[in-house]
Point group: D2
Chain length 482, copies 4
């Protein structure tokens, strides 16, 4: 998921205070259990940053996260968790559990990177490994931060200050097939009382705007080959079909709601120029704020595929590969997160870190306002594009989701700036802040049954009548050959 | 029709001799009847040029040729022809007849101009009437030249030197609905023994390459209007459908034979920007060397219309408006024309006329080789794009067709250069040359029954098993309101 | 302007109460002056509805509103206003004034219709005049409602209960060149203390979301003609350029903010198919929430025009024709409007009117929830697409703007449903409600200097440093020839 | 090269006699040396077919033809030729020489396959190796047939019946970079007196229509990545540029001569949908009947690349990779080939082979007329699309080129039917026929100095003033890593 914000409505005045000194952590306001949770994160701080840096350097893409997954699972084992690896037929998924009985609180971690955006931890674009992958969505921080919170809670359970179960979910392939969806289908979340997750972002907030529903599909065209110079009239070009499809899709942009996003890449469109191509293939994602919106656009695109095939004299086939449900926002849960974030105060970025961020902002052509340190009020949030497989989970378990600054305000996401910041102190500070917020919030869930009950009641009310049905096809996940 | 030639295969060497002095008219080789026919044309030369200039100045477009048609019909009446006007429900069509009995030889004349290409008789582009029509296909010459030949034959019949009937057909709207097709449907050519026609061109030749079959149709799209800013997602844009259709058509160009031509204009595509357009309309012509070729492409375009409608969520309708059959070449007839052209020798353009032509060639970016004066051998002809409603007639009556230089070699047709030359001596010389060729050739048809029989046998052989069925819809021609 | 709302975020629960009985007019809460103002509107109710129906039947499009303008001006004259017609070189613009001295309060009226959407006052689509224009934006109601409010205030000034000046502005061509912009350039609003305006809509609210900035421009392509069959390779198709431009524009949709709207119609794209078109012309509007957004997109489209011309081997020219500034929202003003709307209570639609509305909703495929009767809280408003030349005025004078239900919720705007409702009781009730709200609000502006001062202070604060510069070209408005 | 013919002008009557029994080989007309040459081919027949089958089964694509090249080179060595491998920096190129002194006669052989069209030697489409390559242009026959002719001449030199040098050129990668061009640049053809080559085809003829000039280039687009859902407005899509480029190219098809061919494949267009692609890559070929034609289109496409980049806000780069010159026809040489083909008589296909061919024709939807056995007159040849790197050689050495039937008439080339026939007796008979024709013709070149001189004079006359300059970039050929 990305929370890369584009709060275009934000007044300039507000921006000017983004990096103003905040009120500071009000540690005195933390109750003793929270203090202990926060202290536990601090105790493991160096380990967590090392874990994050390790995964950052691995930069393994979806379903290839063998070393990243192993690093986190080994750390959990070393901390005393019971670890089950390879769950849900996913070699790089695992569940790490500690404690017994209810409440059972889950926390999510991700660790997959994105291809082609390798970058050094510096404010100038330069790949660490030419053509390599990079953590352009900050999942190295996500995984390490979440496990840090889990470890803090584990220690409180171990010391008897909390009762129940803490469970860390190592969830692979968020950027691709959505590991969580397979894990959900396998029933791995069925006994949870609540789930927590965070995501690297360009501002700190308890999220109430949700994420987009998404459907991921392939459009294939089959035509008839011919010699492109000698008898092109005998050919039926699959690429013609594909190009008409994209033209139709781009025209459709005028006729969808502003919350819709459609994007595609062309995966196959001819082998050699002198043959009229008989095969073409396009990979497409459609998103909207909710599934009905996605379904309506998908139906239009099915018509567009059929129409473009008819135009080119070829055949078209649409194959659904997967997708995400939109995130079901839990407002009581968000308010609880917000409270704990407020207690922790502003993010403590230094002047040097702000300069680093501004250099990136300058390089990428956005306003040079640096890093957002101060918690954003829930009321100021606006809709942003982005999807996550956390969405599916949110329809099965009450889910609390927050964002934490790990990158410069408005710098491009899924791009080198996020990789750069995720490999140095800016990302590390976000990681620690997230771990503390999550740990502190979990202490409330363990110790305040009324709060947990309110969160669960909200969940039941919002999800009533909806039966979760994942977008993924039947059968095991599409694990690539080793 | 255009015979605007693009003889790309022609060697440069050949081009360099285009304007070389030819062998000159071998008048001595003409038999006495032919000499008389040619002399008759010369006698009427000034009148014919005056008629041509009159029609050139009128520049009346298809089905609006009231004054042009009247001028020709009045001239025929004055010359002693029996004239029947308004035939085949076409107010600007007429038949002028003289003589009785067989052979009945027809000769075609056209006189419609093209919109928007008004031009003065000068080698620099400048409209005579801003935004006005112009004779960019030389039909002023065509009509006057043909009637000149008819008058010559009439005088030979009147003087008893020829026996039979000469019939001049005033045929409107060649550039649009094809007046000849309605005249054919009305049976006006059913008793003819042979038909002759010529066309202004950039070189003189007896045509053996035919013309293209053509289908003329409308594609209309109907969608759903909506406010383009407030709720474009509720609209289904007919213009989207239209744009996808043209994209599909342009892609189809790769997959048709090189003899195919497809061209279109957009007639309606929205009224005001703030409404998603619910109507759009495109006018399209498809041509190929023969009707089966045209039909195959038309079928593809029907699919493209249906597919584009499906893509845009709108409805499409294809309506055939008309079309031409390809010209059925009569090779014995062509050889007869060629013989007579050879007898007449080179076209007598002056150095000044050549300079005029070269100035146009310079202005239009083609090789400055001037005017082609020498008869082109039948063997050197190559396929050229272009259609004519003479094509339909050629499947009903043996038809002899020639081209005569009236414009600079390779200058753009349906454009100002042709208008310019058609209003001055270059066009006039072509007119006279055509009239003489046609008159001379007709004397053969009247006096050499074996030659006529050979032409008719060829016709029967080539057209065997084919039943002419015009592209025009049932009902009267679409005469515009006065 | 349209306020046709698409409040997609609105919960279903809220929709179900849209037509619930409201609290009713709390007339008792009105102070005596307001009571008199509201009563005055009621006194003129039948005249105002008659005026509206007259303009509805005229259905005159932009700058053609001679009879509509005359009807309103004559009514103002009859009511005792001093009327100045033909202001700002606009034959159909006028200013009607009454009273002297400050405060000078303006009120806007519009009366132009939209082409091609003629419709009877019935819930089934059927044109009143085939191909005719229709009031698809409800400007017949807008003009008559506003003048009703002005007359009410005039009577209070006349009776000495208010002091100052009331000024009604008859503003033509909102749907086209933007009459108000020419009037603003002529300085006609320079001495005003505040301006009021309303707009027909599908819900009642005091608007705080503004309108979109807009730029209106022409893109023309010039190529080289050629015979489309004989030598298309010598042609450079202006239509190719145009089609590439639209393709580029449609691709750009992915890369603009969700607040952007771009829409176009094709005005010229070839005359006859057999000529490669040398001219093509497109009319385009670009909108965004503010001018910088519009300017950024315009720059991209200039590049797209230049690029498409380069691709097609033709020339492109972009000519700005006009445009609107975004509406500068005056929140204190909006709150004042909201207060007065709250005093007036729900809109009193009958069960039959609700059925009429639902029939339209069924026919147009939107939720059959009928008409919105209850005032929408300011907080629930969301961004909607749409522009108005009121926007320009709002940067010169503090402007208060409200919306009133005159059409079914979510029915398509600029389309037959709005025409239908504007010609019957639904529209009439909206008209009267708007007139009352405006009259009541104006009494506050006349009688409560502090309120007016607060509104003016807000205006100065928001517009500080911005110099209004209209999009229209220099010179007089483009009045069509009579 | 392909000679896949589409002789659209061919009369139906002619087609009906395609498979009629021909006059048979007039062996008696062969002089003794020719008889010996033909007999030598027959002697090696089984070896040549085995060689062909071996290469057919290897099906190695361009620059990968290690085993194919080795098989031919080893065979040449075994026959007594001096073989030089890896010439011109091409690991799979070689020259096999025998004899000394002038005349030095070259003969060309090819052996590269095409990807993705693996096929069994049967008349039903079924891959031999799923996804594998196949000899869809018959180069297995080409290589083996040519070496057969070389061996026959070698034996005549060895036996003293001919004097001079025979040289077989093993030329790789005809379907890709054009191995011959690198060999030409390396000067390997500089001392030749004449060159011979043949090509598998669907009819036998001595070619006089030449081949198309071709330019092979890459268009790359570079944009700016962004998250496709969160901030697509910050992205500049390289794929947008690419799609506009192809749209422009497809529009350009209307405005090029009918002899032009343009075709492309898309090699890169995005990696994952959620990133706006910053790179895109297209591989394009442009052909025309000659280089000036190709250059003119290339210039348009450079503009189209620049324009599409401007439209999409990205950068475009065009990189020439290579290309072919058109084949310079040597008419005296063609007449010599024709004479020898006439002496050999019709191709001896059996009824079963004709049925095999007709089954393929049925499966591929072309007229079921079987295989063409009878020599086509030079006069009946028409222009066909296709290019070959033999073209470059033809501007350096007088080149004689013939086609021989190895596949069903009008069956699709570069497709499974050609693979199928090339692996069974149809192809083998063509191979033997070609070898005999080449051998017989070479005896004339060795023994009739006047004939050779005439061919050389024609060459000098046609190529005068033209300096060969290959399309390939400087530097060594792009050999793929092993």
């Amino acid at each position: 998921m990305t929370s890369a914000s584009r709060v275009t409505a934000l007044a300039l005045a507000a921006l000017l205070t983004l990096s103003a000194a905040g009120p500071g952590a009000r540690a005195a306001d933390l109750n003793p259990v929270k203090q202990a949770a926060v202290a536990a994160v601090d105790n493991h701080r160096d380990e967590l940053i090392a874990l994050s840096n390790q995964i950052w350097a691995y930069a393994e893409t979806a379903l290839q996260e063998k070393r990243s997954s192993r690093a986190l699972a080994d750390y959990a084992t070393a901390q005393g968790f019971v670890v089950q690896s390879g769950v849900a037929d996913l070699p790089t998924a695992f569940v790490a559990s500690y404690g017994t009985g209810h409440p059972i609180i889950g926390i999510l971690g991700e660790y997959d990177a994105l291809p082609g955006i390798s970058q050094k931890a510096q404010p100038v674009q330069e790949p660490l490994v030419a053509g390599g992958a990079g953590h352009g969505c900050g999942h190295n921080l996500f995984g390490a931060g979440s496990i840090g919170a889990a470890v803090a809670i584990k220690e409180l359970i171990a010391s008897g200050r909390l009762r129940g179960t803490i469970r860390f979910y190592g969830t692979p392939a968020e950027e691709a097939v959505g590991g969580k969806i397979y894990m959900a289908r396998a029933g791995l979340f069925s006994d949870l009382d609540a789930m927590l997750a965070w995501h690297p972002s360009d501002k700190p907030q308890a999220d109430v705007t949700g994420s987009q529903a998404l459907v991921d599909f392939i459009v294939e065209f089959k035509g008839r080959a011919a010699h492109a110079a000698a008898d092109p009239w005998n050919g039926r070009s699959a690429v013609d079909g594909l190009e008409l499809f994209t033209h139709g899709l781009n025209m459709l942009r005028e006729h969808v709601k502003p919350t819709v996003r459609m994007h595609y890449v062309i995966q196959e469109a001819g082998i050699v120029p002198n043959v009229v191509p008989d095969r073409a293939k396009l990979w497409c994602w459609v998103r909207d704020k909710d599934r009905p919106g996605v379904e309506a656009v998908l139906q239009r695109l099915r018509d567009i595929a059929a129409g473009s095939a008819l135009m080119a004299g070829v055949e078209a086939q649409v194959t659904i590969q997967g997708g995400d449900w939109e995130l079901l926002v839990n407002r009581p849960g968000a308010r609880l997160l917000q409270e704990n974030m407020a207690l922790l105060g502003d993010l403590p970025f230094t002047a040097e870190e702000q300069e680093f961020a501004k250099a990136i902002q300058k390089a990428t052509g956005v306003a040079e306002v640096g890093l957002v340190t101060r918690l954003r009020p829930i009321e100021e949030q606006v809709f942003e594009g982005g999807s996550t497989d956390v969405g599916d989970i949110s329809w099965l378990v009450p889910t609390l989701h927050l964002s934490v600054t790990t990158a410069p305000y408005e710098a491009p996401w899924h791009a080198w700036p996020v990789v750069a910041c995720g490999g140095m102190s800016i990302g590390h500070k976000g990681l620690v802040y997230a771990a503390k917020t999550l740990a502190a919030t979990m202490t409330d869930l363990f110790t305040r049954p009324d709060v947990l009950a309110g969160i669960q009641a909200e969940f039941r009310s919002q999800s009533q009548g909806v039966t979760w049905k994942p977008y993924i096809p039947d059968g095991p996940p599409p694990i690539p050959a080793p």
